[in-house]
């Protein structure tokens, strides 16, 4: 019998603390499968954020470091500079990356740091109870935008791929989603491409993955997938925004 799906070696197998149907778990698995396929688990160092994925160091079966809120790209910068033949990835939520860590991610991409950022966009702050994030959609109700996000009050949702892809230092910038099997396969391909481009030393790489937060969206896990398709993808178009050399 041919095994076609099982736990990748690059995951410890520790049970996730994530809510039912939270797609953080899918994204973890995809990163780990890429590490397995490239056979780089022992050369990879991951940095986890402050956010729901703060405990990712318990889940990835490689050397891991837990960062202060938003600072993962700065930490990854130093590690990569000191250990240039290792693979570095940061795993960051949208509050972590696009709000408090906006400075660190913009500069890491401008410097062309040879790291891979997995940017998990679920349109709000999951861990702290569903507050507004820079990525919260217009009209979206969160605990700190109780009347729905309004452009004149809270400005417009941050499009990080569009923003970062204009930097010369960015070598690969791609947005994907994990709302259905086809998109999950595309997400994995993008993550693999990002790691490969990192290995080639072409510059900064990022895959933004649209992810669900059923709990704070107040939806069932399956309805959350539909909400992502109907509301997020139209505003956050999927695809490659930058591929250096192409």
């Amino acid at each position: 019998m041919k095994i076609i799906a099982k736990k990748p070696e690059s995951l410890t197998g520790a049970k996730y603390h994530y809510c039912p149907g939270c797609t953080h778990g899918i994204i973890h698995r995809l990163v780990a499968e890429v590490m397995d396929e490239l056979d780089i688990r022992e050369q990879t160092i991951g940095i986890c954020p402050v956010g729901c994925s703060v405990l990712a160091y318990d889940y990835f079966n490689c050397d891991m470091l837990e960062a202060a809120h938003g600072r993962a790209p700065a930490i990854a910068t130093a590690i990569k500079r000191l250990l240039p033949d290792r693979y570095l990835f940061t795993y960051q939520g949208d509050g972590d990356l696009a709000s408090i860590g906006m400075g660190e991610i913009v500069h890491a991409s401008m410097r062309g740091e040879k790291i891979t950022t997995i940017f998990v966009n679920n349109t709000l702050y999951g861990m702290t109870g569903g507050q507004m994030a820079p990525t919260t959609l217009l009209g979206q109700v969160t605990t700190t935008s109780p009347y729905g996000r309004k452009a004149e009050w809270e400005g417009y949702p941050a499009k990080m791929c569009e923003l970062l892809s204009i930097n010369e230092g960015a070598a690969y910038v791609c947005r994907t989603a994990v709302n259905n099997p086809a998109n999950i396969i595309k997400t994995k391909k993008a993550i693999k491409k990002a790691f490969q481009i990192q290995a080639e030393g072409l510059g900064f790489t990022m895959v933004e993955v649209l992810s669900t937060c059923p709990t704070n969206w107040g939806l069932s896990p399956t309805d959350a997938l539909k909400w992502m398709e109907e509301h997020m993808i139209p505003y956050y178009p999927l695809g490659e925004f930058k591929v250096k050399g192409e």
Binding site: E42, I45, D63, L65, E66, I75, A78, L82, R86
Partner: protein, 353 residues
């Protein structure tokens, strides 16, 4: 033995290189920038890493990452930048990551001025960051010590797995003095905890999150024990003519050199003075000061600060046994003659003359 003329800031940078520092991560700020500039010039040829970060927040987090790899790494800044670094220093303390943080102090609060100052004493010794922690703070008083304490700082950092701070006034950073160049360090401790990729071993994790209460308690108890060990092994201070002194000055850094001259002046005028110079600002030499408080009649804190910061530690050490006076100002460094005059006035008030 090679002796060269060097600025204090350059002596720090050269000392760091000789201590095997492999990464410098900084953001320019007067009066510390020469350290970054020196590292920017030297690091590439030495195979080291120099990154001018986008902010002090980024710089200290680069130190966090760099230290986690087991390499000797450092940053340097001044008051406003050190304020921003406090977040990272708290994480470094709990992550138990050895590194060197240099504070070449200027006056504050706010943007303050760029004149030399000792007004970062609270920030350095009380930990401006959150949580239960301490870091080792060394206060050099010459360009030579800028080099020596930098090298010592890296050693203590590795020994205790702790961030170490060098705190020096802007004067010292810019003072040009002869410096004996020390031999390069060639032996380093093993760091089996380092994050280097898990080839041939179980994965390592650097983490500061401890959600279960018992785990947080265990971690804090572990740190507390470590701080006790540091207190028992690393307190450093110097005494000058304290044995028969009625009036004991306490001063550190460049101020200690000036105060020493004032002690000699006052002795010539018949006033029995002495000097204690704390070298480690944390751990503080409370016992040395406490012993002195049992036989002197009064103590004086001499600081480059107007509100008086170290004076609080002197009062803690004196435990109310003797009055503790204050001489200090910001923006300029008092000279020995001025201090002598003030000592005479204090002696008058205390009935020592």
């Amino acid at each position: 033995m090679q002796r060269v003329l060097m600025k204090g800031n350059e002596a720090i940078a050269e000392g760091a290189i000789r201590a095997g520092c492999k990464g410098f991560f900084g953001y320019p700020i007067t009066p510390s920038s020469e350290i970054a500039e020196y590292m920017a010039r030297k690091m590439p040829a030495l195979g080291g890493v120099f990154v001018q970060a986008e902010s002090e927040l980024a710089a200290i987090n680069m130190v966090y990452g760099g230290a986690a790899t087991g390499s000797r790494v450092m940053t340097a800044s001044s008051g406003p930048g050190i304020s921003l670094k406090q977040e990272g220093i708290s994480f470094l303390a709990e992550g138990e990551l050895p590194c060197l943080i240099v504070d070449i102090c200027r006056g504050g609060p706010g943007l303050g001025g760029i004149q030399p100052s000792q007004a970062d004493y609270f920030q350095a010794t009380r930990g401006g960051g959150h949580g239960d922690y301490h870091i080792i703070v060394l206060a050099p008083s010459s360009a030579q010590e800028m080099m020596d304490f930098t090298m010592l700082g890296f050693e203590l950092a590795d020994k205790h797995r702790s961030p170490v701070m060098i705190m020096a006034e802007g004067t010292l950073g810019n003072l040009i003095e002869p410096v004996v160049l020390r031999d390069a360090v060639t032996e380093f401790v093993d760091k089996p905890w380092a994050i280097t990729g898990c080839r041939g071993r179980q994965p390592n994790i650097v983490n500061t999150l401890h959600m279960p209460v018992e785990l947080l308690q265990t971690r804090n108890q572990h740190l507390t024990k470590k701080y006790e060990a540091i207190r028992s092994e690393e307190i450093r201070s110097e005494e000058f003519m304290t044995e028969d002194a009625d009036l004991i000055l306490v001063a550190y850094g460049i101020m200690a050199r000036i105060a020493r001259k004032a002690v000699i002046n006052a002795r010539q005028l018949g006033l029995k003075t002495g000097l204690i110079r704390p070298i480690t600002l944390w751990p503080y030499p409370y016992e040395t000061l406490g012993r002195a408080a049992r036989h002197c009649k009064a103590m004086v804190s001499v600081e480059i600060s107007t509100v008086g910061q170290m004076i609080e530690d002197i009062r803690l050490a004196a435990e109310g046994k003797v009055p503790v006076h204050y001489i200090g100002e910001i923006g300029r460094t008092p000279n020995p003659e001025e201090i002598t005059q003030q000592l005479l006035a204090i002696a008058e008030r205390e009935g020592l003359r």
